[in-house]
């Protein structure tokens, strides 16, 4: 007999996104169909091929410490919502791409900097220092899947008893280095991001941070906290196929989804909603569409994507989208997919165009990364 692991729940969320600096504001603007994409004169003047992006307009921080301040600000909001004084043994699990990108850029421009203080670990270390924490820590650099990876590592540590509470999520300051890199690898759109659309031409860069307080459900209930959603399981796989392109049939992506479902002890028929990775690139959306059709067959659940609205925040993307999934579960609503206008008949995925109220018990949050890294996080609505 398989013993179900003790449920792990989200009790606090905090974020900074290009569509708002709180979960409720992001949700409200997402439901209204807004997009944060705009043209940035500074990027245009500096000569970038792509000057459209989704950035945080009103977040002030020292440029070399933008990432860690994003993470810290998001963590404060998450802790406040959780209504918890963090015990010293709280674990910190942070995902990102490289760290403080601006520091890497400045070093390359000739500034004297020791980059050891600007890696992903600097985000984790700052949260541990500010909140006086000494529990387990993970600084995970798995690019665009890093948020899901960090959440999964936190769940694993909570289940194994290594941590009683976890702060987990993803952080990504706006990165010119990534802007140029993705642009030169022809992954960027010039105008807008259109997940699974016939006319999609790529991604647009975003930034932000989303941090969550995770606890065992019993611990949360014992202290009178309100669980917002349950994190059930994480499926991970690697295409082992190509440095940038996904395996075109989506088999690796499908494996990650299948493993999440198997670990959660459920079949694909009970999934109500998939928050797709939906980067808007021709190759990635095509492979993800095949993966979803392989798993779900003709009975596709509701599918939405957020990158047309908030851009692709790389290491923070799946964490920001996890907040959207939790909001969807709380409000029993699938958000619209900004940029999705004409479904690509070849992909065969019709995303939500308007906010859709429907019963949602289970949602999958997909996140895939260059290097063939695939992840799918399974969440369940919390019911007492």
């Amino acid at each position: 007999m398989k013993i179900s692991p003790e449920p792990i729940v989200v009790t606090g969320m905090g974020l900074l996104s290009p569509l708002g600096d709180s979960v409720s504001l992001l949700w409200q603007r997402l439901l209204a169909g807004e997009s944060a994409v705009c043209n940035w004169p500074d990027l245009q003047e500096e000569g970038y091929r792509v000057s459209k992006a989704c950035r945080l307009e009103n977040f002030a921080a020292p440029p070399l410490r933008r990432g860690r301040m994003l993470g810290f600000t998001a963590a404060l909001a998450a802790i406040r919502q959780a209504g918890l004084t963090l015990p010293p043994e709280t674990g910190v699990f942070i995902g990102s791409t490289l760290g403080e990108s601006r520091a890497f850029e400045q070093k390359a421009e000739g500034h004297r900097l020791n980059l050891a203080g600007y890696t992903v670990e600097s985000f984790t270390a700052f949260l541990r220092q500010k909140f006086k924490l000494s529990g387990p820590q993970r600084s995970i650099a798995t690019a665009c899947a890093a948020g899901n990876y960090a959440i999964g590592a936190a769940v694993s540590a909570l289940r194994s008893g290594r941590a009683s509470v976890a702060l987990a999520g993803g952080v990504e300051p706006f990165s010119r280095l990534a802007l140029v890199g993705f642009s030169r690898s022809r992954a960027m759109a010039t105008d807008r991001c259109q997940p699974f659309d016939q006319n999609r031409s790529g991604m647009l860069l975003g930034e932000g941070a989303a941090i969550f307080v995770l606890e065992k459900a019993n611990d949360a209930l014992r202290r009178g906290a309100r669980p917002l959603a349950e994190i059930v399981s994480l499926g991970l796989s690697c295409d082992a196929y190509h440095p940038t392109a996904p395996e075109p049939e989506g088999q690796g992506m499908a494996t990650a989804i299948r493993l999440a479902l198997e670990a959660g002890g459920i079949g694909p028929e009970v999934i109500d909603w998939v928050n797709a990775h939906g980067s808007g690139t021709r190759l990635s959306d095509s492979a993800e569409a095949k993966a979803m059709r392989y798993i779900f067959g003709e009975r596709l659940p509701a599918i939405s994507g957020s990158k047309g609205a908030i851009g692709h925040a790389l290491g923070a993307a799946s964490a920001l989208e996890l907040a959207i999934c939790v909001q969807g579960l709380l409000h029993q609503t699938v958000p619209p997919t900004a940029g999705h206008e004409q479904a690509d008949p070849e992909a065969g995925i019709i995303c939500t165009r308007d906010a859709r109220q429907q019963p949602i018990q289970y949602v999958l949050n997909n996140a895939f990364a260059f290097g063939g890294i695939n992840s799918s996080l399974l969440l369940r609505r919390w019911e007492n």
Partner: protein, 190 residues
């Protein structure tokens, strides 16, 4: 007595300074025997810890872009600017289709990698885990230091090279991390 994590095999090396993309073929040659296994690709996991994966390429990419102009930056250095590129390379080289973790930062990153590998072995998510520490040489006079171990879960240590005694609750992790750190210290020739 619970199951034990054992080191089935280990490997260390130093490699000459080069960008990540030029270093990895040498890393692959060095690690080839360590990856000889019959375990299903999906049940294999990679756990890479590095002080500076992606750093050299990111610096070169950006300094070149300042010369060429950002619109004409050398595309060959991307995605090696991403910290996870070396671990992705290893996955392709050795057909590892399970979890693919990259941890960056100080020596703590190594402990994090070991901890996750231990959790994944105990939970049955993977059957074989490779924990790899790689610190890329930062300057032409610096070598790249490489240390790697192949771990599995067993009832008895058998003919394992070394028993790590990492229990499910994490006991023994510190000594395991110290062991791996010692390996990489021994190989560091800076």
């Amino acid at each position: 007595m619970g199951k034990l994590i054992v080191i089935e095999s280990s490997c260390t090396a130093t490699l000459p300074y080069a960008l990540e993309k030029d270093t990895m073929p040498g890393v692959g040659n060095t690690l080839e025997a360590l990856f000889a296994t019959q375990v299903e690709p999906d049940a294999r996991g990679l756990y890479l810890a590095s002080k500076n994966a992606g750093e050299l390429s990111a610096l070169r990419f950006w300094s070149d872009a300042q010369v060429s102009g950002v619109a004409l930056a050398n595309p060959e250095l991307f995605p090696w600017t991403l910290a996870n590129a070396p671990c992705g390379w290893l996955a392709r080289q050795f057909r590892v289709t399970g979890p693919n973790y990259t941890y960056t930062g100080s020596a703590k990153a190594l402990r994090e990698a070991l901890e996750q590998a231990s959790e994944d072995l105990h939970s049955g998510r993977v059957m074989t885990a490779w924990v790899i520490a790689i610190d890329f040489g930062k300057k032409p006079r610096h070598n790249t230091a490489l240390a790697a171990i192949r771990l599995s879960l067993r009832d008895q240590p058998g003919n394992a090279r070394q028993q790590l005694n990492i229990a499910e609750n994490g006991t023994g992790l510190l000594s395991a991390a110290a062991f791996l750190q010692q390996i990489i210290r021994d190989t560091e020739v800076l």
